[in-house]
Amino acid sequence: MGAFYCAVCRQTSFSGKGHIFGKSHQSRLRVVLLKFLEKVKEARRTIKKPQVEKFDGPQHENKFWCYCCGLEIERNVTDGNMTVLHGGLLEHMATPEHKKNTHKFWWENKADPKLRDKVIITEEEIERFKDEVTKVLDTCVEKEDEFIKQQADHIRAQEKQRQEVLQSLIEVCFPRMQWQYPSLWPHYAVSKISRGSHFRPQDQQAGPSWVDPMVDVQWAGLGQALTFIGYQDSTNSGNVHTGAIPPWLQDDPLEGSSGAAAQPEIGPSLQDFLKQKEQEKLRKLPPNRVGANFDHSSHTDANWLPSFGRVWNSGRRWQSRHQFRQEEGQTNRHKRKREHGTDGSKKTKTE
């Protein structure tokens, strides 16, 4: 028999044409036809009253699958601005090819013949549809034009309001200005008011908005109240405009020898830093250790002695130093005395 691919069931069957009479195929066919017919019914409803909508875009670019022809067809017809809903569907259904395909599909799949005619749209129907569509299109275009006109009116009204507000402001300021600068203002005021009166009859056109000349002259007038600090003579040192070196890149005249002395260094020197490190370490040591407050760099004279608790002393350590010095002194005296004594005795003897 050969392989036979059924598009409705999306299956390949090897049992030939017997597949079509099977239950699953028929049930699937029914479902498919139902869905298809729904779409067609909706389209038929619009034959008498075509729907034409303004907007375009993703909403209206739908495609639908025609089971009879096996093609994807645009559902709506659009030309950019307007869309005729279901136009594509109806058009396609009217084509003779579609008619032929529908017959073939019905014969091959053994579907219900009553439903077949529903899927085809006759020529008369399509003609009627087209007429209706043109009528509806005209009305739509009219509506669009009206809408645009309304918008223009609205804009014009807003513009008019704005001008009136400006005028009222100027009329308020105008007397004051006249008093301060009598020579300048009358000319401007007169021209402005005349222009304003010209403006009113020309309602129909949307005129360009122009900058109020009064406002410009006001700014220039206020500039005359600045303080004058004198003419800056920069012929010697140069200017921004002449391309001179800016002051912050020039050498400082207050500096010492130019270039020879290094910039004053910021921060502690190396020695100070090392000392600081040592001090940090010291801080970690217990504070009640022996000699914690001993000043290691204090200068002592030549006969300094450390506090040493001597062997045959009783009492405090620092006293031992004292005692030692005393003993030293006594021994010296003893020695001297003995020398003196011997000398003296010698002398007396000789004498």
């Binding site: 040591l285 250790r289 022996v290 290691h296 450390p306 040493f308 608790g309 003993e327």
Partner: protein
């Protein structure tokens, strides 16, 4: 042995060392380089000097070179070892009559290291006299004579 340990030749040097060394035990060995017991002690000192370098600084003093200290510290037997910490004299109770200095040599290097550690810890805690960790059998015996002045 004593070639590797720094030598102090005069009172000024000794003063500088006692005042200068900070946060470490100052070990002053008083003796003569030729004496046999001194040689033993010097060997122990030099071999442990590196290991104890964070805790102690060890110096060699010849008793003949600084007589004033010899008298001041009452050094009668050599070698005698005196300990200081931050300019303060550290006394140690060895079980011997004299607490102010260690007389003689140590039996082992470990004894000396233990002693230094005990002195260091005591000093850190603020103690100016500490108890020696050395076994009293290993402490050299001597008689302390009282010299009438």
């Amino acid at each position: 042995m004593s070639l590797f340990l720094p030598k102090l030749a005069c009172k000024k040097d000794i003063d500088e060392v006692i005042k200068g060394v900070a946060e470490k035990v100052v070990v002053l060995r008083f003796g003569r380089d030729e004496d046999s017991v001194c040689l033993q002690l010097d060997e122990i000192l030099s071999k442990t000097a590196h290991d104890l370098s964070n805790m102690a600084s060890i110096y060699i003093v010849d008793v003949d070179k600084a007589p004033i200290y010899t008298r001041y510290f009452d050094i009668s037997y050599i070698p005698s070892t005196v300990f200081f910490f931050n300019g303060q004299h550290m006394k140690v109770d060895y079980g011997s009559p004299d607490h102010t200095k260690f007389v003689g040599s140590f039996k082992t290097k470990q004894d000396f290291m233990d002693l230094i550690e005990v002195i260091y810890r005591g000093a850190m805690r603020g103690k100016m006299i500490v108890q020696s960790p050395i076994d009293p059998q290993n402490i050299p015996k001597y008689d302390l004579l009282y010299h009438g002045i």
